[in-house]
Assembly symmetry: C2
Homo-oligomer: 467 residues x 2
Amino acid sequence: MSLRAIEEKDIQYFQSILESKNVLVDQENLEKYSHDETEDISVLPGIVLKPETTKNVSDILKYCNQEKIAVTPSGARTGLSGGAIPIKGGVNLSMERFDQILEIDEKNYQVTVEPGVIVEVLQDTLKEKGLFYPPDPASKGSCFIGGNLSENSGGPKAVKYGVTNEYVLNLEVVLADGSIIWTGANVLKNATGYNLTQLVVGSEGTLCVITKAVLKLIPHPTQDLLILVPFRDSVQACEAVAKIFNAGITPSGMEFMERDAIVYALEFMGDSTLSIPDDIQAHLLIEVDGNNKEVLFQEIEKIMEVLEAFDTDEILFAEDQSQKDQLWSIRRKVGEAVKAQSIYKEEDTVVPRYELPKLLQTVKSIGKEYGFDSVCYGHAGDGNLHINILKGEMSDQKWNQELSLAIRKLFEKVIALGGTISGEHGIGLVQKEYMDIPFGQVELDLMKGIKKVFDPNGILNPDKVLK
Amino acid sequence: MSLRAIEEKDIQYFQSILESKNVLVDQENLEKYSHDETEDISVLPGIVLKPETTKNVSDILKYCNQEKIAVTPSGARTGLSGGAIPIKGGVNLSMERFDQILEIDEKNYQVTVEPGVIVEVLQDTLKEKGLFYPPDPASKGSCFIGGNLSENSGGPKAVKYGVTNEYVLNLEVVLADGSIIWTGANVLKNATGYNLTQLVVGSEGTLCVITKAVLKLIPHPTQDLLILVPFRDSVQACEAVAKIFNAGITPSGMEFMERDAIVYALEFMGDSTLSIPDDIQAHLLIEVDGNNKEVLFQEIEKIMEVLEAFDTDEILFAEDQSQKDQLWSIRRKVGEAVKAQSIYKEEDTVVPRYELPKLLQTVKSIGKEYGFDSVCYGHAGDGNLHINILKGEMSDQKWNQELSLAIRKLFEKVIALGGTISGEHGIGLVQKEYMDIPFGQVELDLMKGIKKVFDPNGILNPDKVLK
């Protein structure tokens, strides 16, 4: 199916249905909306549209579907797999005007939000009412809930509380032909037809455009404790992760950071309060939460007992909220800090938790074989390891030609360990060439069939996820 | 698409690929496999097949797909929406030989099971290792995990721990054309392509046949407390439900039983140890669980405080395990006991928790209007109310012709309250005529499109879920 470029008549049509501030064709804006946070990739859209209502979205999609114009939905453009890059030109459909928290239903522990609400704003607003929406990626201060829904985001709390899809009850979406539907109902359990809601979550804007979401909430835990554990051996740090769970503890945070990850983050933040001894290879940042401090102290004690079997340095017990904030802030800055070091590629591997040590060893041995350095960190409690491959001194030729072989080898090992190639960043643009590793042709054909049912003309985020 | 009946040549083919004990055409077996637990509906299959391996399932489906023969997958046939009734004849594909727990992966808190494993057997086996698989419908002593996956079952623990789909990591399934695929990966988070796993869960055997499931486990809580609270006003009992959650408590069980439900169950079980005072209209059975008894006592105290605002009789605090078992057993027997009273229809409505009182009032007022009695009970913490409509003295003509109007009116109110028509029993055969109430034509067309992608010839559980 061939899609066509934006023409003058399209601009006129969009100007007829949207306010002029919401129809952008100037170079500066086209550039601004040409990329997300994925490597250094950038492709200009033909036009940027900022709908303000579901009706706007419906009108735009209906028109583009008739005219065969590509539509790439975008949010805060903090994505790491290139999902919001308008690689086929056409419309960049920015959902930033959908920024309202529509209803906080305290009686039923539900919230109805628009997709352009910043995740941290949502969390903070809810917390004031004692309510908790747990999933929050490192970019929570800027990313939109709509992007989180589209990528099925995780974040550090997922280990105890689950990822985005576990909190989605119902979605208002606009289909490619402009139809507006709700995918489910505002209920905690639902056995009524196929689960369209769960099909849309994580579909990366390729099936429809989300215009409202009804999310499940839980009571906000009132207490938490946080420790930072330095390990002299990074493989041991990975091993400790599963051991802690096997002791019957479910931490609310279980983050792994290689030495370089934390060192780069401290440099990046200009933070000199924390010094990392030379012999430390990795850290675990471990949080427990709940409503009873005594129980949490017992849990930390149990964790300490497990850790005795490992070669750790002195454990830092966060003394107060400000130290907790500092430690979490370091963790949240790691991604940005590592990416500031070099041209990079980031892989978002996930394996069963116990296989983490093998995954880390595999990364390092493939790195040696292909001559790249890597910095690894991530949500170890979920078995989710973010692998940042740094170009450093690698030649352009090697980087451009050989690296994909190395990544392929890594992903094959991930699959062999029972894992898969993306835990929370999505496939988007940059991982789609590897989709034949987790899936065979039959599974890919099912996915293509589903895409065709939702979007027969292939206008929605074309050439993403699937080839 | 027209499907054809079983012929002699089909029997010969099936005998060539299966052992003779697994190919049944005698009247007694055809009758045995002609129904599940749904009302009094029964339709004979042309043949009953009991595959023993995934390869068997694949061969059977491949053949039936080529020959256009209906295949109705069945498990323990405890379903309540007619999903396992072979309404188009053809093959009843009984998965009862798939009865193995293949691997308990304690290190990763995962289990790999075949679909024919009885849920209680799975739970008990896991509990011995300190592991917990929470979803367990009232029929847990006989129902299969495969049926639970197909219907997205809930059960009393769902209120705290979630329903079946929240525990499914990966599925091996056979497609209509005989292809064998895995839908996902054995990981806690997954952002790799469309969520085929969640699409299959709850699809009621209409998209594919599940042959293996990898399920997430959690540590088994070590402590629980149980109370039975008698209310003089059944609407007040419903009101108390949301109030308890709003006090910040998440019980691990929150069951509602109308007076008749518990009275019938006690009669049915011949249990005279519990007497229900004349002025009691309803009960809540409330459980809290965790690992710290003191915390649980605090939670029960908080619940008691909330209950002070309601007109309750003396609260029964279960003294020991045997009394807990007795109370749960009464709750689990309610369905069977109520159904033994009269010809019945059961509706599986679900609404946001706070709307429960309105739902109950609606049921009773529609009952008055149309002249039927009803007994209501269910998982009140989830807003999931099972409504048993009893035929009693109603004329056949009224029962057969007017009742569906009453049900339609009820379901319309359920939707207006933000709910939907099935919380955990599925749509199957008996609710499909009402699917136009929760969904419009666009949503139904999407579902039909998805069905077509998976099963182009429409052989898998034909005429279920969708018309």
